[in-house]
Every structure is written in C-alpha cells, then in structure tokens.
C-alpha cells in the first residue's frame, strides 16, 4: 500500500521536474548539445500548450481557472524567452528553431509575443545597430562568450559592439565581477548591482539583475526592499547613496562604520568588491540612460502579446517619459540644417588645431590656470537641462534604496568647502590599482585595462573627417567629468574644455553622469549633430569610465586613509 503511494508521489515529482525548462543547454558551444536542449524545450512547450488548450476547451470550473491562469502565465514567460532567443541568440540554429517553435505554438491557437520598441536602443535607429547574425568573426566570438556566460545577449552588449575592443574588456570585467572568484557570494553581487542601479532608477538593470539574483538562489524577500535584506547589505546603503551622488563626501568614517559593525561588518576584501560593483553599476546606469537602452525582449516591457495593429503606444516609452516614436519624427535631422551641423564639426576641428598650435606661445599665469579650474567647476553647476521630464519607473525600483531625495548636489556649491582632489596625489595608476589588486586580486588589472582601452580608444575620425588626432577632445571630456567631481589635474589647462565642449554637449555629459535618469532623446540628438552614432556611443564609454574612475578614486582614497 505504502509503496504504491510513494510511487505515485515520485511520479508526480518526476513529471514536474521534466516540465522544468532548462535553458542552460543552449549556452553550449556544441551545436548538438544545443539541438538536444532545444528539442526538449520544444516538447515541453508543446506539451504545455496542448495541456492548456485541452483545459480551456473542457473544463469551466472556477478552481481550475486559477491554476489555468498561472500556467498560462508560465507559458507566456517561456514564449517571451523563446522570442528573445529567436531575435538575439548568436547561434543561428537556435534562432531558427526558436522561431519554428513559436510558429508551431501560434498554429495551436496560442497568442505569441512580439518584440516591442525599436531595437536595442531608443536613441539609435535599429538599422544603425549591428544585427545579430551579421556580425564578423571577432564579434561573433564576443557574442558567443557573452551568451555562454549569461544565457542572453543584452541590449547593452548590442550597443557597445560598436566598439568591440572595449566590449571585450567590459564583458571580461563584468563576468569576473559577477561570476568568478571573489569574496562576496553570488547573490550578494547581484543584489549590490540592483542597489546601485536602483539609485538611478534604472529599471532596465534592476530587471536584469532581479532575474539573475533569483537565478543564483537569492531570497525573493530581499527584493521587497532594502529593509528586508541582511543588515550587512543595509549598511552598504549609505555608501551606495553617497558614492552615486556625491562621492567627494566619502570619508574614512564611512569605511570604518562598515568595517566595524560587529557581526554585520564587512571585510576589506568584501568592501572593495562591493565598491567596485557599486561603481560599475552606477556608471552602467549612466550608459543605459545615455544610450537609451530599451528593455530586454524577455523582460517586462520588452514584448507584447497584443497584435501589432492595436497601437504603437508602448510601455517602454512611458517608462522614461520618452515618447520615442513621436520624437523621432519631430527631431529628425530635418529640423537642423545640414550645413549648420557641418559647420559645427568644422569649428570644433579648427579650435582643436588652434589649441594645438598656440599652446606653446601663450602661457597662462598660475592664477589664471587655477581660476580656470574653479570656473569650469562652477560653471558645470549651472549646466543643466531645463526640461524636467518626470519619469515613473515601471517596476517600483525605488524600494531598493532609501532616502530617495538624496541626489547629485554640485560639488562645493553648498556652503561647506570640500578640498579639491588632486590626481597627482592619488591616482588610479599608482595608488588605486595597487589597493584594488591587493584586496581583490586580478580585478585591478581588469579595470585598469578597461580604463586604458576606454581612454585611448580612437579611430582617428571625427564625423566625416579622417586622420584626426582626437586625444585632446577625449582628454577634455574625461577631465570635464572629473572636474564635476572635484578632481583636478595639475597639468591640465581647463580653458580647453570651454573651447572644445559646447553647451549642449556639456548638458548631455552632465546629465548622463550626474542624473542619468533625466536623459532624453532630445538631449542625445542635440549634441554633435553631425557625428555618427558610434561616436556618440564612444562618448558614452568615456563618460561611464571616467565616472567610474572618479567614484573609485574617492572610495579607495577613503579606504587608504582608513588603513593608514
């Protein structure tokens, strides 16, 4: 008797296990493994579909209705994932097969999803962005790596692939931070990522990492808000807040509070890992907004089950107050005359030439130089977009952090005087690197490489011009961002910034770096109108790396001070 009971139970368990869809087989580089994995997925999905259909047709009892809804929900999730695979998987066989499964499901009378939005970025027309499947060998290797590690090819990757050299380093670093050896447990890492992205209300990153967090076995309760997470992570909230908005206020007391909290205290190595993650995700949030990254296809807001004819009013457009479709029509290049923007580029190049030439002749006095830095710093405060777009994040991201009112306040505007941070006294190459590498081996090296690539990346082109030395422009952008954080280079003439960066560009930089959630398509379009999208993405790479370095410098300096 007993035995048969047990048997039954076992069978049920087995059946459930069988219905569990496992996507990891698809990440394999071996096509046969992928094929078998896909085959099982197809069977499960078809079975589920079949099941659902028969239930629909036969029973009408209310209790079943609930379970029915649940299983439909489940199936829809699977279908959304399949849709993502059909569009974004770097392996052709998977794309085709996924498409095929979806078609089959549709033929069975189930509504299948379709992607929303206009490609990976709302700012960049889809046709400008590399299509999956048309990449070259190097990019394909990158895509495959990324897909193998994460089981997806996210929109950030698809936009960054404009600059494969950087992307490679970026993915390597991110992979190391999230999945390789490190002092923090995996779910902590994703949770810290969520905390950091939430600081900028970046629902895109929060969504991604909520999935990852649950995937690595994180406790879903934590997602209800920071107060449900362990005390240890709650303690990190303060550092997260200051680091994201006013890193210059970080003192060694902040560090001390984290390291000496009895049973909730952080170890130095954990703290460095956390700091690197926080800064990484703060700046990645900047990139997400700066390039207008659309929601992932399989996440909320990335797809719809509604037939296309109903409306072109999409969730993703509301989320950040960007009515991209309309805007695209309004602010298309037509509004600015071509000759006008052409002149812009010419002027910029002329200025660069001029600066290059006259630098040796005219020497500014010391006071002049110092005041130029102060001026730039002061001026950067007033550079702000006038249009205030109120965005309401789709997922309630604000619950992941506290003190929502805390935001970027301009460096040294508010009464108290914060001493200027001098790079010559504490710089990444000499000091930051050594500290990070000591406490979190190998990461220092990876980040160092990433900074290096971002800073030195150039194709010697500017808009339609070739063979241009852009180092001056890149340095101006980099130093301008550091200037906003109160970091000064003794050997830089801040007058150059004023010459090279015009106001709309400064507005964009400042918004992306300090309050990324307020970036709009208009801002993106209105700077450097004649430049290519890849160049604008390049600018974004500079922005996020400079921002990350600035935050890191302040945090690491505080740690160093704590240690000595």
């Amino acid at each position: 008797m007993l035995k048969s009971e047990e048997c039954k139970e076992k069978l049920i368990v087995m059946a459930e296990g069988e219905n569990e869809v496992r996507w990891d087989g698809l990440c394999s580089r071996d096509s046969t493994t992928r094929e078998t994995a896909l085959e099982t997925i197809m069977q499960i999905i078809l079975r589920k579909t079949e099941c659902l259909r028969s239930v629909k047709e036969t029973t009408h009892r209310p209790p079943d209705e609930v379970s029915n809804a649940i299983s439909l929900d489940e199936l829809n999730k699977l279908l959304a994932h399949l849709l993502m695979l059909a569009k974004r998987c770097p392996f052709k066989d998977v794309r085709e097969k996924s498409e095929f499964i979806l078609k089959n499901v549709q033929e069975l009378g189930i509504r299948i999803p379709r992607p929303l939005g206009h490609g990976p970025s709302r700012f960049i027309p889809e046709k400008e962005i590399l299509q999956v499947g048309s990449e070259d060998a190097q990019m394909h290797a990158l895509f495959a790596d990324s897909f193998a590690a994460l089981g997806r090819l996210d929109n950030i990757t698809l936009v960054m692939v404009f600059h494969p050299q950087y992307l490679e380093s970026f993915l390597k670093t991110q992979h190391y931070l999230l999945q390789m050896d490190g002092p923090l447990p995996l779910h902590y890492r994703h949770y810290i990522g969520i905390m950091a992205a939430a600081r900028h209300q970046c629902s895109y990153l929060v969504n991604l990492h909520v999935n990852d967090f649950l995937h690595v076995g994180g406790d879903p309760k934590w997602l209800n808000g920071l107060e449900n997470a362990p005390q240890k992570l709650q303690n990190l909230g303060e550092l997260n807040k200051v680091l994201a908005h006013r890193p210059w206020l970080i003192t060694k007391e902040h560090i001390e509070r984290l390291l000496k909290a009895e049973e909730h205290s952080w170890s130095l190595a954990e703290l460095v890992h956390a700091v690197v993650l926080l800064t990484h995700y703060h700046s990645l949030a900047s990139f997400t907004f700066g390039c207008g990254i659309s929601p992932e296809i399989h996440c909320d807001g990335g797809h719809t089950f509604r037939p296309p004819s109903v409306s072109n009013y999409c969730i993703c457009d509301i989320t950040n107050g960007n009515h991209s479709v309309d805007e695209m029509q309004v602010s298309s290049p037509g509004s600015v005359s071509v000759s006008d923007s052409f002149f812009e580029v010419e002027a910029l190049m002329a200025k660069m030439r001029q600066l290059q030439e006259c630098r040796d002749e005219e020497e500014a006095s010391q006071e002049e130089m110092a005041s130029r830095f102060e001026m730039e710093k002061r001026e950067s405060m007033f550079v702000f977009s006038s249009d205030d777009d109120e965005g309401t994040p789709a997922r309630d991201v604000s619950r992941h952090f506290e003190d929502t009112s805390y935001g970027y306040k301009d460096f040294s505007r508010h009464g108290m005087h914060v001493p200027t941070f001098r790079v010559q006294d504490y710089c990444w190459e000499d000091h930051g690197y050594s500290l990070v590498n000591r406490l979190y081996p190998d990461v220092g090296q990876l980040i160092d490489e990433k900074f290096h690539i971002a800073y030195n990346l150039t194709y010697n082109t500017m808009a339609m011009h070739k063979d241009v030395d852009t180092s001056m422009l890149r340095r101006a952008i980099w130093n301008y961002i550091h200037c906003m954080f109160g970091i000064r280079y003794d050997d830089y003439d801040y007058g150059e910034i004023n010459q090279l960066l015009d106001r709309s560009f400064k507005v964009y930089i400042k918004t992306v770096v300090c309050t990324p959630e307020k970036v709009t398509k208009r801002m993106y379009d209105s700077f450097w109108r004649q430049f290519k999208h890849s160049e604008k993405v390049h600018v974004n790479l500079l922005l996020i790396e400079a921002r990350m370095q600035a935050e890191l410098l302040y945090a690491l300096r505080a740690i160093t001070r704590y240690m000595t």
Partner: protein, 790 residues
C-alpha cells in the same frame, strides 16, 4: 648617550656622524635629494620645498625655497634632484609639467633660476648628468623625455618613448652618453643622449608600470628596476639582450629603488601604497629583507643614501610629513625573527629537519626524546662565511634514519603494483587484493579485504555480524563500537603506541581463530561465561584497563598462548571471530535466545531500534532473511579507512575507497578523500610508480584529484619534415609549410590518435596502421623499415 649609537666613518677625510632621528615637516614630502657634501638634504612636495642641514643630533631647517605671495603650481614638486657636482644647483619637476632649476648662489630670496615649460603633462622625474655640469634630463607623463642644457633657454633634444608616460629617467653612472628610462606600460628603454631619433634598446621589464630604476654605482651594466607588479629586478645590460640577474618579490608596488653604496648586492626599496617600511634587500637572498626601517607612519615617498660611499646612513621622506635619517645599525633585521626551520620525511621513513642552530645545539645536549628519535645519523652544520646572512640565519640539519630493514617499503611498492583497483566485480577485486596482501605477509590487510568482500558481496554472512554489532552497541553504553574493527585491522609495526601492542595481540588471536576455526566452541564457552556482557567483545583494548595486563605489551613477544582461552571469565571478548568465520544461523539464534542479551538490550541505545527481546529476535531474523543493506556497515568501513589512514597506511585507505567506490564514498567527506588521494599519489610518485599513480588519479572521483593529470600537460610536437618544433596551433608547420603528422596509409592529416614506429618514425591513424601491418611487415611509407606493431 650610549643608546644613540654614534657611527663615524672615515671617508677621505670626511667623517659622517649621526644617529637615527627624524624631524617633522609641515606637509607630505614627495621626494628628497642629498647634497654632494652629505650635510644637507632637500625635501620637496606639493606644498613644501625646504633644505635641511643634517646635524649630529637633529635636522635644522636651513632654507625655505617656497617663496612668494601665492603658491604657484610650479612649486608643487613631483621630484627634486640636487646636482652631484655643483652644490648650488637644484632641479625640480612640477606636477603641472614645468621643470624648474634653482641656484642657491643667488643673492635674492627667490632662488628660482630657470623655467622650462616644454612638457605638456606632469613631469615625473628629473635627473642631472653625473659629471656634466649643465645637462639636465626630464621624463614626463606625456611620454617625452627632454634634455636641457642649462646655458640655453630651451631643450636641446627631445626623446619620444613612442609609448606611454615616462616614470623615471636615470643617467648611467659609468657610460657618459647613456641613460635609461622606464615607462608606464612596463618597458625600459636605453638611450644614447646624442641620438634622439630612436632608443638603443627596449625591453619589457615588468607587468604594469615601471616606477623606478637605478644604475649600480660600481657594476657597469647593472640596472635595478621596480614596478607596480611588486617586483624589483636587476638587469645586466652589458649583454646583447638585457638579462634578468635577480628578482626580488616585495609585498607592495615598488616606488623607489636605490643601490646601497659599498655593498655590491644591496638595494633599498620603498612602496607607494599600503606598506610604509623601507627595506634593504640582498638581491641574492630575495625572500627576506636584510634590513627594515619601520619609522614611517605613512608611505615613504623618497629615499636617498646620505653619502655615495657610506653604506650606513639612509635618509627618507614620507607622506606622514616626516624626514628621517635611518642608521643601518638600528635597522630591524627580519632574519633574526625568522625561523629557518624545515622538516621532511624520506621515502623510507627517514626524517630530516633543519632548525636554528642555537636551538638544535641546546637540544642535542639534552637526552633525546624517546618516542620519535631512534637513530640520529648525522648532524650536519653548514656555514658559508660568504653568505650574506652568515651567522644570522644559519641552521643545522639533522637526519634520523630508521634502522635498516625495519623501514623497508618493498611491501608498499609490491602492493601498489599488484593490487587490482577496478575492472572486475567487487568480489573478485577483494579476493585478489586479499591474496596479494597475504602473499606479502600482511595478514591484517588481507583480512580486511576478505571482510569487505563478506560485507558487500556475500549475503549469507551479513546478518550475523550485524546482529552482533547491534547488540554490542547496545550494552557498551555508547562506546564507539567501531573500535573493534580498528583494532583488528591494525597492521603490526605501524605504530609505536601501546595500542598497537594490544592490537597485535588481538590480531594474533584473530588469525589463530581463523585458522583453527574454533569458533563454535569458543562461542559456546563464551555464552556461559559472558553473562550479561555479551557484547563487550568488540570493545577490546579500548576501555578495559585489565586488557593491558592481559596482553603482553612487548611486540617482541612472539606468539603467546591464545589469551582468550586462558581468561574467558574476564569477560574477554571472543565474539569477533563471528565476523570472520562462516558461523551458522543456529549460533545466531542461540545468541538471540539468551535472556541476558535481551535484558540488556531493553535499556540500551542500539543501532537496531528494539523495544524488547522479542522485537530484537524478530528483527534479527528478518535481517538475516532479507539481507542487510551494505549501507549498514558504511560507518564501520569508514572508520576502518580512517584508521588505516591515521596509521600511515594511506595505500589501504585509498585502495578500499576506489574498490568500494560509491558504496562508501558519500560517507567520507570530500576533503578527507582528497587528502588521502593526494598523499597516496605523492607517495607513489616518490617511489616512481608513475603508472599506478596515474591509475589512481584516473580512478579517483574527487574533482581536485582527477584534474591532476589534466593540468600542465603540454605536448611538444616537432614537425616530421624539418624537425623544428611546431609552435603554432594547427596542423601545418610554419617553416616548411607542409602538413605535419600525415597518415602514411591514407595521406591525410591525423587529428587524433597517432601511432608511429619508433624505428622509422612513420605512422598514421591507429586503425590504418593496424590494418596495414596485418598484411605487410614493411613500413607503409615505403622506407623499407620493418615495422612492428605490438
């Protein structure tokens, strides 16, 4: 006064005196430099630029060069250097990229002499020519080095490193025209001052930025470099290719390096992060610094030897705003605190250890420890007066050898070679191994194998043991039952404790019992005598003190008369033979029927959950009938394995582990298994039993172990045509552009198993060659060689 440890050195009439001292500066220092006369030092930093006179007792501020109303960035110094020919000449490198020279001979308060504003970025380093009065060199973040003639307004020549920022530039002391520069990307370049178009030589010295370099004051071609990768390297530049002579691994990135005067192999280093101490290294002893100065509370930014011919004074400036003079005599010497100790076992049980000489000398006077030391063979003392640390870190080496014969390990080798570990049914494996062990005279081991076979393979015998155990457990008041097995399994000669002796006795009794198969008789005997204590038999030697008396302690005693026959009334355990002998069921029933047993059972903790004698009865019967799951013994077997391992017979532990496989693996934690495996593999390799060791690696289920023979295995392939190594991946040789490793039969590239004749080196696909050689004995390539396939 005595404590001040005055030192005076006669140096060409000059006498340097002083003590370890420090003075407070107003701001963090970035660099220091010493005047030629060794009496003054200049300190420069972001907001400090002062000259101090070094007096006997203290530093005295002599001059503040930072004058003017408003602090200018030109005065924010990254580096400072004092001319070694001209006492009045100084140069500083400013963080804003300006190179400034200072003339102390100027009558006005402002000593600033010239301003060179040619660099676009921070200047990291300035350097005067060692002999030329007017030549100044600078290296900057912008990647350029500039050579200035102080008589002219601008630079004489510009050197482009063609790579990243220049971190250090140093004129060679010996070669008039040469200077070295180090770069942020890890390169070191050698330049001829007359040829600004290209560098003479370039090589990658470090991984990451090279922060500093220093030419050896005497050895012409020696250049020391220090980098962010925490290394100090000494290069010999006289050879065609820069050769790395020495490498010192420090604990933090190396910010400055300076050769110590008059000490050929010494150099001082300091770090720019985390570590605040200054170390003096002997490059030949790269692991422990020769001396250490621990005065600073923040990172040291500048170091300088006070006089080019005096090795005992070191000056240093630090971010903690102090300027220090360190006396070598006052330095702490880590070597003193080091314990030069080592211990190693030889293959045959020899033991060698090295310890600090003083310790050993003291100890050898004492009476040797009885347990471990048996035969100290020799006592060697190695002392080389030429060694840098002679006298400080000398150690003595002691070797103890095991008496000849006693430590023979031939059984180990034989066992390892003859054991069968896999590929046959369990029963056969056990039998085979038991046979091997018996033939080698290792009866305990043989018996263990037999027992394992019984436990896991022969169902008929299982329950009897089991019952016994459950009962034994019950009345032994929670004492670990497993000891019974342990004792039995112990091999003679493996341990020296009394426990061993006991087990010896036990073993003997065991074997005797086996041989005589007098089981039933003794059993019956027991049943009468044992009374209520039926199960104590398994606790032999573990608890009862009397047993020590019962058993002859001396292992030398050969076979004493069987004690169990002599002293049955002592509740002496006789039960264990049940395990070994095929005792019949009637015996079992006898036992179960015994009222004492049941009585005891009732109030005892037992492995078998029983409430009354009846239940016990029924269960035991049931067990007997339906065969106990071998799981039941796994605890026991695990303990047995642990016992063997503890006794040093890790071979047995691992062999059983492999043979039993899944049956016991889950009961022993991963780490222990891994530990056993690695120990056994280590032993096998020391005995050069490569094949066995590889087999063990292959059969192991531990992740960490099984990857052992996958790691760092490199196959070097030479092209079969040109005999050059095939460097690139793929199947085509770079040099002769032909496909290597072609199959001689099908003329295709072999991308898998390649078999070839060792006589003519022709070969091909395994299948093809096999087939070919079936029909012909000649080489398929047609070379005429008579190949053989075996």
């Amino acid at each position: 006064m005595e404590k001040m440890s005055r030192v005076s050195t006669a140096l060409g009439g000059n006498a340097l005196t002083g003590r370890t001292m420090h003075c407070h500066l107003d701001a963090p220092a970035n660099a220091i430099s010493v005047c030629r006369d060794a009496a003054q030092v200049v300190v420069a930093g972001r907001s400090i630029f002062k000259i101090f006179a070094i007096e006997e007792e203290q530093f005295v501020e002599k001059l503040n060069l930072r004058v003017g109303r408003k602090p200018s960035l030109n005065l924010s110094c990254a580096d400072v250097v004092w001319h070694q020919m001209d006492e009045n000449l100084l140069a500083t490198a400013a963080t804003n990229g300006v190179v400034v020279t200072w003339n102390l001979g100027r009558p006005s308060r402002n000593k600033q002499d010239q301003l060179f504003t040619e660099h676009k970025r921070t200047v990291n380093k300035v350097c005067f020519h060692p002999t030329e009065a007017h030549v100044l060199l600078s290296g900057s973040q912008d990647g350029f080095m500039k050579c200035f003639d102080l008589r002219r307004k601008d630079s004489v020549s510009t050197f482009s490193g063609q790579s990243e920022s220049v971190r250090d530039v140093q004129f060679s002391i010996r070669d008039y025209f040469t200077f070295a520069s180090t770069f942020e990307n890890g390169n070191v370049q050698l330049w001829d001052i007359r040829r600004p178009d290209r560098c003479e030589r370039m090589f990658t010295a470090h991984n990451g930025p090279v922060f500093c370099c220093d030419w050896h004051p005497e050895d012409r071609g020696w250049l020391a470099t220090g980098g962010r990768d925490k290394m100090v390297k000494v290069w010999d530049m006289t050879t065609h290719r820069a050769k790395e002579m020495h490498c010192v691994q420090t604990i933090a990135s190396v910010a400055r390096v300076k050769w110590r005067p008059e000490c050929r192999h010494h150099l001082a280093t300091c770090s720019m992060m985390v570590d605040h101490n200054i170390y003096v290294w002997d490059v030949r002893r790269p692991f422990v610094p020769a001396a250490m100065f621990e005065e600073h509370r923040d990172v040291t930014t500048g170091i300088a030897w006070r006089h080019p011919h005096d090795p005992s004074f070191l000056l240093s400036g630090s971010k903690d705003s102090t300027l220090c003079q360190h006396l070598f005599r006052d330095a702490s010497q880590p070597v003193e605190r080091a314990n030069p100790e080592g211990l190693c076992y030889g293959l045959f049980g020899d033991l060698a250890f090295a310890a600090k000489e003083s310790l050993v000398a003291a100890e050898s006077g004492r009476k040797p420890y009885t347990g471990d030391r048996r035969h100290p063979i020799f006592f060697k003392r190695k002392l080389d007066p030429a060694e840098p640390f002679s006298g400080l870190a000398s150690s003595a080496l002691n070797v103890f050898e095991i008496e000849p014969g006693g430590g023979s390990m031939s059984w180990f080798v034989d066992t390892a070679e003859r054991y069968a570990l896999a590929g046959r049914p369990l029963a056969e494996l056990c039998d085979h191994n038991a046979k091997v062990a018996r033939e080698l005279g290792r009866n305990q081991v043989a018996q263990t194998w037999t027992m394992l076979r019984i436990i896991y393979c022969s169902p008929g015998l299982v329950p009897s043991t089991n019952l016994n155990h459950s009962v034994g457990k019950g009345s032994s008041c929670g004492l670990p039952l497993m000891n019974s097995f342990n004792l039995k399994d112990m091999a003679p000669g493996l341990g020296s404790e009394t426990r061993l002796d006991r087990s010896k006795g036990d073993t003997r009794s065991d074997t005797v019992l086996l041989d005589s198969s007098a089981t039933l008789i003794t059993n019956e005997d027991n049943e009468e005598t044992e009374g209520s204590d039926v199960p104590t038999d398994y606790l032999l030697g573990d608890v009862e003190g009397e047993e020590d008396e019962l058993y002859p302690l001396d292992p030398e005693h050969a076979h004493p008369e069987e004690p169990e026959y002599v002293l049955p009334q002592e509740a002496f355990p006789l039960r264990h033979e049940i395990v070994d002998t095929p005792s019949g069921p009637e015996h079992l029933q006898d036992k179960a029927d015994s009222p004492h047993v049941s009585g005891n059972e009732a109030d005892a903790v037992s492995l078998v959950p029983v409430d009354s004698s009846f239940s016990l009865l029924s269960i035991s019967h049931a067990l007997y009938d339906s065969r106990l799951p071998p799981d039941f013994f796994s605890v026991l077997v695990c303990d047995m394995l642990r016992f063997y391992a503890e006794q040093g017979d890790v071979q047995m532990a691992v062999s059983v582990l492999i043979v039993l496989g899944e049956r016991v693996r889950k009961d022993i934690d991963e780490q222990t298994q891994e530990h056993w495996y690695t120990s056994y593999i280590d032993l096998l390799q020391r005995f050069r039993l490569w094949n066995v060791s590889n087999e063990v690696v292959k059969l192991s289920t531990s992740q960490a172990v099984s990857c052992l023979n996958q790691a760092s295995t490199t196959l070097h392939v030479n092209c079969s045509h040109c005999k050059r190594p095939m460097s690139s991946r793929g199947w085509v040789c770079d040099r002769c552009h032909r496909c290597a490793s072609m199959c001689a039969v099908c003329h295709h590239v072999v991308k898998g198993l390649f078999v070839w004749c060792q006589g003519c080196s022709h070969g091909g696909h395994l299948q093809h060659i096999m087939k070919w050689l079936e029909g012909s004995s000649q080489c398929p390539a047609g070379c005429g060689h008579l190949c053989e396939y075996s």
